[in-house]
């Protein structure tokens, strides 16, 4: 379990920053869309937490279910949804064993096959990459003081 715990701790250090970032954003920016065809700010946040839960569930159970479309009307709602997904993903992550990391799983959307640990790396990379985009959204929305990209506490 040592390997899984370290992976989860590293991921949570990034998720914590996402939650901190969301506290800085007001409701007026929820639908902020910096360019045509982009995710709105709210959609980008939901994309991260919903898909990363798909990855973690896939590694633990082998089940692949695409996320259900969600709509949030306020930042408070978004923060609540993020917290719920964090708790759900954390609970599933905590059940993953080092043996699960070696089991081959299938990402059904593209029939991509890889070991559980590869999907957890993908999930981690996905979280950080989109956070990089979200920081730009937040800065464009006028927030000047942004947290560091990783929680070092």
């Amino acid at each position: 379990m040592a390997q899984v715990k370290q992976l989860m701790d590293n991921w949570l250090r990034h998720r914590n920053v996402l939650e901190e970032l969301l506290k800085l954003i007001d409701d007026e920016h929820l639908s902020f869309k910096p360019w045509d065809g982009a995710f709105t700010l709210g959609e980008l946040v939901l994309h991260v937490v919903q898909w990363n839960d798909v990855f973690v569930t896939l590694v633990k159970t082998g089940e692949f279910t695409t996320p259900v479309e969600m709509k949030c009307q306020t930042m408070e709602e978004i923060r609540k949804v993020v917290r719920q997904f964090t708790e759900k993903s954390k609970a599933t992550y905590a059940k993953i064993t080092d043996e699960d990391l070696e089991i081959e799983r299938v990402f059904a959307l593209s029939n991509f096959k890889a070991k559980g640990k590869t999907f957890l790396t993908m999930m981690y990379d996905h979280e950080i990459h989109h956070k990089g985009q979200l920081f730009v959204y937040t800065r464009m929305a006028g927030v000047k003081e942004l947290p560091f990209f990783r929680d070092f506490k």
């Binding site: 360019w35 890889a114 990379d125 950080i128 990459h129 990089g132 985009q133 730009v136 464009m140 942004l146």
Partner: protein
Amino acid sequence: MKHHALQQYDYHVWANRKMFNRLNELPKDVYVKEIQSVFPSIAEVLVHMYVADNVWLGVIRGDSFEEISAAAGRSTEEVKGKCIEEIEKAYSELAEKYKTYLEEKENLDESISPEHPKFGRLNTRISELIQHVVNHGTYHRGNITAMLRQLGYAGPPTDYILYLYEQQGNI
């Protein structure tokens, strides 16, 4: 089997190359144009990433804080205000330094304890620091893709899964 840290570093180099390939396709002023974002321009992000990667290479090699500080200053001078071709060349040379060091290192899980005058001693492993270098790059490549969109251009896809697809010969 290749150590996970080596594969991750290889992904980092691949993703940076994708980024440069895309930037090279765009008008020259895109790269230096000032915008309201997390950095004043894409060039500034690339300078920051280059300096940070140099700093971490020094940490991984066990250089002293003074040596690393001096190297940070030198690496800033190397790339600040330079054209994209020169920055790309500097990135390639740095990647070679990393690869040489990492391939010669027998134990990438070796424990190290770098000391920082403000933050104190950090007990970690070389592989952990490599992972940090890669994550730092992933975060800033995310910045750049969004900044490119701010400037009216699509960014390059650099997802880890695309790297894996390429490695498997699927694309």
